[in-house]
């Protein structure tokens, strides 16, 4: 597989939902947010929002921390950057493979001269 060094699938799959994208957008100020803050204005129960936040947490997109009895979430932006780098990564792997191909075909020619 040309993009072997990054497996973005869990991140992509976690982001493949409008509610979770909205939650990521709300978290993109980099601050800690409570479930109550994040659920504000969404047509979802607290439990529903928690479920989506847990998916984001399992994919490594947000971190979860208990402050007293309250659960707070923070965005981990590196996960999303790495997903955006997916094509760049596939491209870099081609560069590596091409470098090896070049060595292979050009060296053998030199050897036979």
């Amino acid at each position: 597989m040309s993009a072997g060094s990054v497996n973005p699938a869990p991140v992509f799959s976690a982001l493949g939902d409008p509610i979770r994208l909205e939650l990521v957008s709300r978290l993109s100020d980099g601050r800690e947010h409570s479930i109550k803050q994040l659920a504000d204005g969404l047509q979802l129960t607290r439990q529903g929002v928690t479920k989506h936040l847990n998916v984001l947490n399992e994919a490594g997109i947000v971190s979860r921390e208990f402050v007293g009895r309250e659960c707070r979430f923070t965005l981990l932006p590196e996960s999303i950057n790495s997903a955006q780098d997916y094509l760049a990564c596939a491209s870099a792997q081609w560069d590596d493979a091409i470098a090896r191909l070049k060595l292979k075909v050009e060296d053998q020619i030199k050897g036979s001269e």
Partner: protein, 153 residues
Amino acid sequence: MTTAESQDKIVKVVELKAPVARVWQAITNHEEFGEWFMVRLDNPFEVGKVTTGNITYPGHEDMEWVSTTERLEHEKLFVFSWPPSAVDPDTEYGEDAKVMVEFKFEPTELGTRLTITESGFSQFPESKRLEVLRSNTEGWNIQAENISIYVSG
């Protein structure tokens, strides 16, 4: 070497100081292919047939190789496809969903101009999701940078 990238494809153009016949052999012979691509392939590339194998790149030995050879035009064109499910096994794709990898061979004064094109990324639902993410979240990249600084600082 030159590179062009878009949301849907990667294009690499490389000048090789070796005749087309040699480059063709290094790419279409499955054992030679495996040496530079770092994959152990079980069977040759034959049009319409599936080639299986395992990646040999250190740290990724658990990744399987599955490709279908689409075209073999002697010393001109080699095309294989692989299913997107090889990258993202948890998503269901249409029967026709495939990523195409094309090798185009052209003789030059120095040897060979090889053009590699990998295309079809837009079939990945994640690409669409990223587009959604990019378009829906204004200034996303700047924000992400700021957050990076925030988180690492």
